[in-house]
Symmetry: C2
Subunit: 327 residues, 2 copies
């Protein structure tokens, strides 16, 4: 694929074949308590149980395996708040590559530990006054390395889209046609890939990106039909969803495909984490719980619908998780 071309459904199928032996297929489950509470049929996709604890392994591994196969690239540079970092580190470990990853100083300890455990090198940057892409590009130049971006790349998007392929086949196996999908959105790679997969299989499905308050760049960009930026200076518990603006390629896809964005508060996210603990026995990180938060905060909107809710990751420090349980 060329760098700026949006992947299509066939690219997703190829990605699925490329990563199949290395990923965990993850469950699509339902909860009677949740179904009754919303008055709907909810299909929950547990990408928290994916290798490295989030969906990110799919996209990173898809791209990095191509890089290895095509040109034997072994020097990789990337940037990430943590989930893509761990994914790149684990993929490099499997593929015999060396990865250098630019991470924010305030990344969760679980994500820093996970990245180091797989043998990758970390360069820290300050999220407030440094631009990770610039650091990454300069390191890549120095080391003659290939960049594996966290979302704005066709191979990465195709890899994330395999989540959507799995959801589609798991839903069809139960004879369910989803009406709506709620998908966490940071840079927009996951929701773009899933939209391609789900809309090909279910043409009338509505795919909504879900974002934390103050980081609703995609929601606003969908309205204004151009890429908007988040205003600086804000914090959010959803550390995995803090991209400053939609990706160029991801927004090209998302502008064509997505329905309105949904924006949720920190309290709603904490409530969703607690709900997943109590009723699903799953550890979900704040950004990973945001689609569930959107569902729980707007139940009447989903009444009598078949709704896919993506739980995208579970890499959370114990103090934040304890805070969610106690709040």
């Amino acid at each position: 694929m060329t760098k700026d071309a949006a992947p299509n459904y066939s690219d997703l199928i190829l990605a699925a074949r490329n990563i199949r032996q290395f990923i965990h297929p993850t469950p699509l489950f339902h909860s009677s308590i949740l179904d009754e509470s919303v008055g709907a049929r909810i299909l929950l996709k547990a990408e928290t149980l994916q290798r490295t604890g989030s969906f990110k392994f799919r996209g990173a591994f898809n791209k990095m395996r191509h890089l290895k196969a095509k040109k034997n690239h072994t020097e990789i540079v990337s940037w990430s708040s943590g989930n893509h970092a761990q994914a790149v580190a684990a993929a490099a470990n499997i593929l015999g590559q060396h990865a250098t990853i630019i991470m924010p100083t305030d990344a969760p300890k679980a994500k820093i530990d996970g990245t180091q455990r797989y043998g990758s090198e970390i360069i820290f940057y300050n999220r407030e006054n440094e631009v990770r892409e610039k650091i990454g590009e300069s390191v890549a130049k120095e080391r003659d390395a290939i960049i594996v971006p966290p979302y704005d790349d066709p191979d990465v998007i195709a890899g994330q889209g395999t989540v959507g392929l799995e959801i589609a086949s798991q839903a069809l196996a139960r004879d369910i046609i989803p009406d709506i999908a709620l998908v966490p959105c940071g840079g927009g790679g996951l929701v773009a890939g899933c939209a391609i997969a789900l809309q090909t299989q279910f043409p009338s499905i509505r795919v909504h990106p879900v974002e934390p308050e103050n980081f609703d760049d995609t929601t606003r960009s969908l309205v204004s039909k151009k890429r908007m930026k988040n205003s600086p200076g804000h914090q959010s518990i959803c550390d995995s969803l803090l991209a400053p603006t939609p990706g160029s390629l991801t927004f090209k896809i998302n502008a064509e495909r997505l329905s309105d964005g949904v924006v949720v508060t920190e309290e709603q996210v904490l409530n969703a984490m607690r709900f997943a603990f109590r009723h699903f026995k799953l550890v979900v990180e704040p950004g990973g719980a945001i689609a569930l938060a959107a569902l729980l905060a707007n139940k009447p909107s989903y009444r009598n619908k078949n709704v896919v809710v993506l739980l995208s990751g579970g890499n959370v420090d114990s103090d934040i998780f304890g805070h969610a349980l106690g709040s």
Copy 2:
């Protein structure tokens, strides 16, 4: 089946057919970090993700569906520290039965709430000075109800054995022959059922019950070859594994089939819960984490083996879970 006859492999197959449409098939997964840390191939069975949050739904539903089908029994009495209670309550709800359940006053709130949510009636008793079986039998007589015991029953054991059937087919699908299975043990129903399933498929597998310290009745009974009692007055964080003595029928099966018991400390259980949080993103209750605790506490014993580790339940109050994360 007659009340005192041990179920055989065919009974487990029938149980699997009887419950198939009502249970969640649960994942058998592995973790590279755990495999490397032990130097073994570990297969983790996540019954935490079963309906009602533990394996108990399998046995309760198997028996109660038979009761409904054969004689249209609709009045049920049971006793349980909590997981079997929720299972009976959920099964009664599905089957249109009315259940009365004898629970200890100190049962976890999550388990009491879960039981009440499904519409069952709870009668509380004091674990220290009352005998739940006696209360249950007297209530059953009053109400002309059928007793669904938590473990000492062939239909219940056959239902729990379907966990073992699933493990066997999932392991075979990956071309793995397990050498060892570590299974949490309270009254012994789960480990009895799993031993029947696993030893039929893998004749040389060793199945070990795992128990908390001071509640090691099955471990001691396997040595003395007769049913031993736990001495009174002890507490354990493993609320689901506090049966005072092995069941009569379960011990008949277990005495023939099980290898040595493994006994673990409270610290080891808390450590296992933390490990599952961090690396599997799963919420596992203390008693549910005990087989993982045995593995982590005795790594050299399992080196180079294929080891099944059963995570049996995830119904834990947030304060206990927070304690495990912080400890």
